[in-house]
C-alpha cells in the first residue's frame, strides 16, 4: 500500500510541477479576461504561429487563438455568443452578412501605419462587400479551382468542371466539405452564377452533386493538399493557395481554373461588436500588414497576399504561378460570393445534408 501511495504522490508532484511550469504561458487560457488579451478567431492553418508569439512578445498583449474550418462554423461560433471575440478573419460573404446585421465595427483603417502597403486593386475588389473599405482589412485572396495529378489527368480534361463527374476517375475525386464552395462546379455547369439562391435552380445543381456523390473519394477541407501530395486522388476541388502548397511537395500536381469560371474569394479581418479591446485589435491588424510579418505569413500560408511589398519581393516564377497569385484574367473572370440571408443559408445547409444523407428527391 505504501509503495502505491508513493506512486500516486509522484504522479501528483509531476502534475503539479508541470502545472506551475506552464503557469506562465497558459495564464491566458484560464478563462479570466485580463486587461491585455486579444481573442482572435481565424481559419485553420491560416497564420504563422511564430507571428503570434512575436506579437505577444513585442506588445505584451496575450493572444487567445481559436481556429475554425468552414465559414458557416465561424458564423455559428460568433453568433452563439459564448465567447467574445476581438478580431476575426473570414470570407467576404460572411462579413457582408455580418455588416448588414450591424455586427461589425466601422474603423478608419487608413490610420494604420502599414495601410498603404495594401494593393489598391484588391481594396477596390473588396468594395463589392465593403464599399468604403471601412469595415475590413484584406488578408489573403485567391481562387477556387482544380488541382490534378498530371500523370493521371490531362490538361484538356480539367478544362471543364465536367471532369469532376467523370466515372473513369471513380473514387479519385476529392470535393470540398464546405457548402458554397462545393456548389460552385455544379452551379456553373447548370449555367447559373455562384450566387444563385432560387430553390429550384439550387435543386438542379444538387441533383448534379447527388449524381457525383458515388464517385467522390471524400469530402475534405484542410486535408486536401496533403491527400493530393500523398497521391490519394487524381483531382480535387481546392483553394488556389492550398494547391500551391501541394505543388511545392509533389511536382506532378498542377492547378487550373476551368473555363466555365469560378469563384474569387477575399478573406479579410474585421473587428466585431463583441470586441473588448479595440486598441489591441487595431495594433494587431496593423502588425499583420507590415512587410516582414506579411512575408512570414505568406511563406506559411502560401495564398495570394494583398500586400504590395510582399508580392514585389517574390521570385518571378512564383509570382506568375496561377495557384499563388491569380492572374489579371482570373480576377475579372471569377465571381465574388455575396452574402445570402438566413433563410437561404438554412436552405443550403439543408440541401447539403440531403446530399450527405442520400435523401435527395
Amino acid at each position: 500500500m505504501k509503495r502505491k501511495l508513493i506512486v500516486f504522490g509522484l504522479l501528483f508532484v509531476f502534475a503539479i510541477s508541470s502545472l506551475s511550469a506552464c503557469g506562465d504561458d497558459s495564464s491566458g487560457t484560464t478563462g479570466k479576461r485580463s486587461e491585455n488579451t486579444l481573442t482572435v478567431l481565424n481559419y485553420g492553418k491560416y497564420i504563422d504561429e511564430d507571428v503570434l508569439k512575436q506579437f505577444e512578445k513585442e506588445t505584451g498583449i496575450d493572444i487567445k487563438y481559436e481556429e475554425y474550418e468552414s465559414p458557416e462554423e465561424m458564423y455559428t461560433k460568433y453568433k452563439a455568443g459564448a465567447i467574445d471575440y476581438d478580431v476575426i478573419c473570414t470570407s467576404e460573404y460572411i462579413i457582408q452578412k455580418l455588416i448588414s446585421e450591424g455586427e461589425v465595427l466601422e474603423q478608419d483603417y487608413s490610420t494604420l501605419s502599414n495601410y498603404s502597403n495594401l494593393d489598391s486593386d484588391i481594396l477596390k475588389l473588396a468594395q463589392s462587400y465593403d464599399p468604403m473599405n471601412s469595415y475590413t482589412v484584406p488578408y489573403f485572396y485567391g481562387t477556387v479551382g482544380i488541382v490534378y495529378d498530371t500523370t493521371k489527368v490531362t490538361e484538356e480534361e480539367v478544362s471543364s468542371w465536367n471532369c469532376l463527374w467523370d466515372k473513369n476517375h471513380k473514387n479519385e475525386i476529392i470535393m470540398m466539405n464546405s457548402v458554397r464552395d462545393a456548389f460552385i462546379p455544379a452551379l456553373k455547369l447548370s449555367g447559373y452564377g455562384i450566387n444563385e439562391t432560387s430553390e429550384e435552380n439550387l435543386r438542379e445543381a444538387l441533383k448534379l452533386l447527388d449524381k457525383q456523390f458515388p464517385i467522390v473519394y471524400a469530402y475534405f477541407v484542410d486535408e486536401i493538399g496533403d491527400e493530393m501530395i500523398s497521391g490519394n486522388a487524381h483531382m480535387a476541388l481546392i483553394y488556389s493557395g492550398e494547391a500551391a502548397y501541394a505543388m511545392d511537395f509533389n511536382e506532378n500536381l498542377a492547378y487550373t481554373i476551368p473555363e466555365e469560371g469560378s469563384n474569387l474569394w477575399i478573406d479579410s479581418w474585421f473587428i466585431p461588436k463583441t470586441c473588448q479591446n479595440e486598441e489591441a485589435a487595431m495594433l494587431f491588424l496593423d502588425y499583420l500588414c507590415g512587410h516582414e510579418i506579411g512575408i512570414a505569413n505568406f511563406e506559411y500560408v502560401y495564398y495570394a497576399s494583398p500586400l504590395t511589398s510582399v508580392v514585389e519581393a517574390l521570385d518571378e516564377d512564383v509570382r506568375n504561378n496561377e495557384a499563388v497569385i491569380p492572374s489579371k484574367e482570373s480576377l475579372t473572370e471569377c465571381e465574388v460570393f455575396t452574402s445570402i440571408d438566413d433563410e437561404k443559408t438554412a436552405l443550403l445547409n439543408h440541401l447539403w445534408q440531403e446530399l450527405k444523407s442520400r435523401t435527395v428527391q
Partner: protein, 262 residues
Amino acid sequence: MVKKTLSNVYMAIIFLFLYLPILVLIVLSFNDSKTRVEWGGFTFKWYIECFQSETIMTAFATTLQITVISAVISTIIGTLAAIGISAMKARSRAFYLGSTNIPLLNADIVTGISMMLLFVKFVELGFVTVLVAHITFSIPYVILNVLPKLKQANRSTYEAALDLGASPLYAFYKVTWPEIRSGVFSGFLMAVTMSLDDFSITYFTKGAGVNTLSTMLYTELRKGIKPELYALSTILFFTVLILLLLVNYLPNRKKSTALERV
C-alpha cells in the same frame, strides 16, 4: 494441441489488430519523411518539434491541469457524497443514485450539449467550464467505487469508536478511512482516466484558445499530416504503459489488478 495452437493464433491476431496502429505510429515517429508513408531515414526531429510546438505543449499543460484539478475535486465531492448516501434512507438514496447514473448512462454528446446550453446562458465558455464539466462526469465514478467499500465496512466498529470517546473525525480517520481508501483511490484513478480520454464533452464546453490534447488532436487531424503528433503519441503510449505497470504490479496487489481498476 491443435486447440491450443488455434487459441494462440487467435490471440495473436487480436493482439496485432490492437497494437498494429500503435506500432505504425511509433515507427513513423522516427521516419524522416513528412508527406508520404515511406521510410526516409531515422530521425529524432519530430520529437524535438513536438516539444517545441506551442500548440501541443499548451494543450498538454491544459490537459494535465484539468485532469488533476477535476480528479481531486471530484474525488473529494464524490467521497463525501458516498459517505452521506450510505447513511441515507432508501428514498433519498434512490434520488442520489438515480442522478449519479445520468452522466454515466447518457451519451457523451448529449451531456456535452446540455452543459454547453447551460454555460452559454450564464458565463463565457473557457477553462472553467471545461473543468466543471469534467468534475461532473467524474464524480459518479468516484461514488460508485467508494459506495461498495462503505457497504462492506463494518458500521459497528465506527460506532464503537464513538462510544469509546473518539471524535467523529478521529473515528473516521482511524476506522472508516482504512476501509474505503482503496475505493477512493480507484475512483480517483478512474476520474483521471475519464478526464484524460474525454473528447466530446470537452469539445462542446471549451472556450477560445482552450484545448485539451483530445480537442487539439481533432483540429490538427483535420488539418492534415503532422509527424509531431506521431512523436506525441509514442511518448504518451510509453508514459501510460510505464505508469500502469507501476501502479498495477507493485507488491501488495491483493485487490488492485488491472481488472478491478478498469
